[in-house]
Each structure stands twice: as C-alpha cells, then as structure tokens.
C-alpha cells in the first residue's frame, strides 16, 4: 500500500461520503456545503493524478461557479417554500427511476474494458499540448468552437428566460 493509494482512498471516501451527506441532510443549505466538500475531494484526486490544472478547474468552475450558482438558487427559492415541507409526492416512483438509472450506470461502467493500472505515462508539458490540440483542425478544434456556441446558448437563453416583462 503506497502513500498515493492511501491518499486516494482517503479522498475517495471523503468525496463519496460527502456526496451521501448531501442527499441525507436535513437542512438543504448544509447539503450544499457537503457538496462543496465532495468537490474538494474530487479536486484532491485530480492532484493525485498529477493534474493540478484539472484540480484548479474543479475549484474554479465547479466550486466557484456551479456550487455558488446552486447556493444562490437555494437561497432565493427557499423563501418560497416552508422550511420542512415535503416536496416529494411519490417516493415509490422516484425510487424506481433512481434505481433504474443507477443500474444503467453500473452496467455501462462494468462493460468498459477498464485497465487496472495507468497505461498512459504523464507527459511533461501536457498543458501546452492540450492547448495546441484545441486549435488543431485535426484535433479538437470543432469541439472547442462548439463549446463557445454552447456557452452562447446558455447565456442568451437564460437571460431571455429571466428577462423583465
């Protein structure tokens, strides 16, 4: 058991444990806080995978963006709901759907040929290569530009939906 395996287990338990807490939390705001802890766990795992840039992205987009947005949504809509109102009308159907989804995901993951050890060596200067690949027509140029279109849609559509009437 090398140090990196131990650390990985620690952070994995943290990430999953926090995620479970998110679901079972009584107060929804605490749930959001646990979600952030879970994101931190994932960021730590990225660091273990020798990818500090991805860890930073996790911090900066997931925590700094998505989590903040989620919390704003919670804070703003919580006013509309009474504190302990049950929002789930039909727990049985919800449970069936959730289990089915879980089953599909497990089946997909198990059907992938997973390598048991890392096969790709860590490349020095990997980020520059990524940058070059992003604009390479034989590389990821199309997805790169499509991301921009997607963000355009997000921006315009959401502001349209929320416009003052």
């Amino acid at each position: 058991m090398s140090l990196s395996v131990v650390l990985f287990l620690v952070f994995a338990v943290l990430a999953i444990g926090a995620a479970i807490r998110v679901v079972f939390c009584h107060r929804i705001f605490h749930g959001a806080m646990w979600l952030i802890v879970s994101f931190f766990g994932v960021a730590a795992i990225y660091m273990l995978l020798e990818s500090p840039f991805l860890a930073g992205i996790q911090l900066f987009i997931y925590i700094g963006g998505v989590a903040v947005l989620t919390v704003i949504a919670i804070m703003v809509t919580k006013r509309v709901m009474a504190p302990n109102q049950r929002t789930l009308n039909d727990p049985v159907s919800a449970g069936i759907v959730a289990l089915a989804l879980f089953g599909v995901m497990v089946w997909m993951i198990l059907s992938l040929p997973l390598p048991m050890a890392p096969t790709a060596p860590v490349i020095e200067g990997g980020l520059e290569l990524l940058g070059a690949a992003l604009v390479d027509p034989q590389g990821f140029l199309l997805p790169f530009e499509v991301v921009s279109v997607m963000m355009l849609v997000v921006l315009v559509a959401s502001l349209y939906l929320g416009r003052e009437r």
Partner: protein
C-alpha cells in the same frame, strides 16, 4: 554523543538531501514563515492606510493623544487587535452555528492560502513555498473560493440585511472575476507560462508598460474583488450596517476585516508580479536579496494607489457596479486580450525581435484600443445628449426632419 555539524546538516536538508524528517521540518517552518508575511505586513498596512487616508482627507487619523499607542500611533493596530480578541463572541439565536463559525475561519484561511505560490524573490533566494507550474491559475482558483465565506456568513446570520449584503457582494465578486481572469491571461500568454516565477522572469519590459490597458483592467477588477472603494458595497459602512457580516462580533468580525486587508495586500503583490516586474530591479542579479525589497516597495505603491481611491471616491450602487462590469470591463477585457494576442502573433510573423520592439508594438495596440474606446464613449455621449435635447425641444425635430 558524536559531534554533529548542525550547519552542514541544515544546508544539506535545504538543498534537498538529508533525512526526511528534517526536510519536512524545514518546509513546515518555511510555510509558517511565508504565512506570517501577509499577517505582519497587514498589521503595518492597516495603520498606514488609516494615516494616509486621513491625511488625504485633511485630517490626522490615529494619534497617540493620551493613549499608549506609540509615536504617530504605530501600535494602534496592535491595540485594536488586542481589543477585538477580548470582545465577546455573540452568536445570534436563530443562527446556523456551524456555518456561522466556519465563515470567518474560511475568510482568513483562503486569504493566506494564496501565498503558497507567491515568489518574494528570485529563485536563488528560495523565497517561495512552491513554484507551481500553474501558479497564476492557482491564485485565480483560490480566489474563486472567496464568495463562499460571504454566502455562509450572510445566510447563517438569519438576518435580512446580512442576506441582502451577501447576495450583492457575491454578485460583485463573481462578476469581476471574469475581467480579472481575462487580463491575467495576458501575462500568461506573453510569458508562455502560468508559473509566477517565469512570468516575472519574462518581464524584461514590465507588462504595465507594454500592455497598460490590460494592467488597468486587472487593477480595476482586483479593486472590486477585494472590495475596496468604489466597490465597497459589501461593507457599506453607512447603509446595510456592515453588510453580510452584520451579526458578527469580536474576532469573528475581526477575521473578515483582516481577510479584506490581506486580500488587498495580496492583490497588490500579485499585480506587481504580473505587471510591474515583481522582484526585478537594478542589481538584483548581483544581490538576489534585493528582490523582496523591490517587490514589497512596488506592492506598497500599488496598495497606496488603492488607498487613494478609498480616500477620494464615493461608493457605487450594486446596479452601477454590475453595469460597469458587464458592459464595460468584461468587453474591454475580452477585446484587449484578443488584440494583444493578435498583435503579438502578427509581430512574430513579421519577425519583430523580442524585447523593446515587441513591447512598443503592444503598447501601440493598447493605445489604439484605448483611443477607440475613448472615441466610442465620446460619440455615445454626444448621441445621448442629442437625444435628450431632442426630447426637450420637440419643435426643433420636425424642422430637422424636413431639411
């Protein structure tokens, strides 16, 4: 017991050899040392700010009239710190205890965490905890954790004013992160690296000279991020009581205040690293330890420019703050980033040599963009004036339409 040459063992440990526990110990000591830099600096800077701003506003600021605060009250901050540490910590009834307490801890922890990558001097002096190859990005990533302490403080206080204050502060902070990142990307672009040491090393011509518009955008965005006037609505001293930290007392309040000053200082240091050449200066290659001196002097100057703003500007409202960000700073940040990237690449194609020639070219591009923006604003203002005149003089309009 055998004679151990302590100095030799220490030197070996610093160089990277020696027993592991000694290396770890040294690193821990170094980390503590680096973490103390912002704290100690802030003690001085809080006093200095109060004095300087007071003088700018034609008053005296803290003096030692009758109190044991030292000549010119230099121990004022220490006295304030002692006072605040002994105040009762009141947690309001309905407050969410755990979150309420974590918020001030987070504020200070995040503020200090940024110092992991700050190089105080050239690599020979080893005055940096880690030179991460993603240094600049690390600063951005840690900075993006800032809104959380505000949300946590505002929400857990269960107080309307704190809530509103938190929302507004968060909107401001996340908004201004965009121009901050776009302008930070320019030194990264020009240096070809995110490592702060390499960005400093690549500044044969300081970026504030070759791309002043970018430096301006970064400075303004940074002002908003740390919450200094005119972007001070998070505190809003005379409006929402104290904004999102209304319900905090004692050191918990002190933590927010401390965090703000540390962030302001960190922002000045990062600005100096990115745009003012950091620890570079005359004779640094001969005497590397001059490096931190230069850096601190530059950061001090930037910090005092912020004080100048603080002393003289009124506070902007939330709608003005957001309008300025999304309608002025973000477009400017995007445009100037693209223009700089394009200009540098064109110069590279044309074979312009590195150094002063390239810097001049970039400066020219900045001036062009700045000039175009100025013209655009003037034209827009004229149009606005004309429209207003037309509204108040309707008789004139049909005459013009006929002619």
């Amino acid at each position: 017991m055998a004679d151990v040459d302590v100095i030799a063992v220490l030197q070996e440990a610093i160089a990277g050899g020696g027993p592991l526990w000694l290396q770890v110990l040294l690193r821990v000591a170094g980390a503590f040392g680096m973490a103390l830099v912002p704290l100690v600096s802030v003690v001085f800077l809080i006093w200095e700010s109060r004095k300087v701003i007071a003088r700018m506003q034609d008053r005296l600021g803290p003096t030692n009239a009758g109190t044991p605060a030292g000549p010119w009250a230099i121990f004022q901050t220490v006295a304030d710190a002692i006072k605040i540490l002994t105040k009762e910590l009141i947690i309001p009834e309905g407050a969410d205890k755990v979150v309420f307490i974590i918020a001030p801890v987070l504020v200070v922890a995040v503020a200090i965490a940024m110092w992991a990558v700050i190089p105080l001097g050239p690599p020979e002096t080893g005055l940096q905890v880690v030179d991460l190859e993603i240094g600049a990005f690390y600063v951005v990533a840690i900075g993006s954790l800032a809104p959380f302490s505000m949300i946590m403080a505002g929400w857990s206080s269960r107080n309307k004013y704190a809530d509103v204050g938190a929302f507004r502060a968060v909107s401001q902070i996340i908004g201004y992160e965009i121009p901050q990142i776009m302008s930070l990307l320019v030194p990264v672009l020009l240096a070809g690296s995110m490592s702060l040491q390499e960005i400093v090393a690549s500044q044969d011509v300081a970026y504030a000279i070759s791309v002043p518009l970018v430096a301006l955008v970064y400075f303004l965005a940074m002002l908003a991020e740390v919450g200094k006037l005119p972007f001070e609505l998070a505190e809003a001293d005379s409006e929402l009581v104290a904004g999102y930290f209304t319900e905090y007392s004692g050191m918990m309040f002190g933590a927010f205040y401390l965090g703000e000053f540390i962030n302001a200082f960190t922002g000045s240091v990062v600005f100096s690293l990115l745009f003012l050449g950091g620890w570079r200066g005359p004779f640094v290659d001969v005497v590397p330890w001059l490096g931190p001196v230069y850096l601190l002097v530059k950061a001090f100057l930037v910090f005092n420019v912020m004080n100048l703003f603080w002393a003289s500007m009124p506070r902007l409202r939330i709608d003005q703050v957001l309008a300025f960000n999304w309608k002025a700073l973000v477009p400017m940040g995007l445009v100037v980033f693209l223009v700089v990237a394009l200009t540098d690449k064109l110069m590279w194609r044309a074979g312009v040599p590195e150094g002063w020639a390239r810097a001049a070219g970039l400066l020219l591009s900045n001036v062009v963009v700045g000039g175009a923006t100025a013209l655009l604003l003037v034209w827009y203002k004229r149009r606005l004036m004309r429209r207003r005149a037309a509204r108040f003089a309707p008789a004139a309009v049909p005459a013009k339409a006929e002619a």
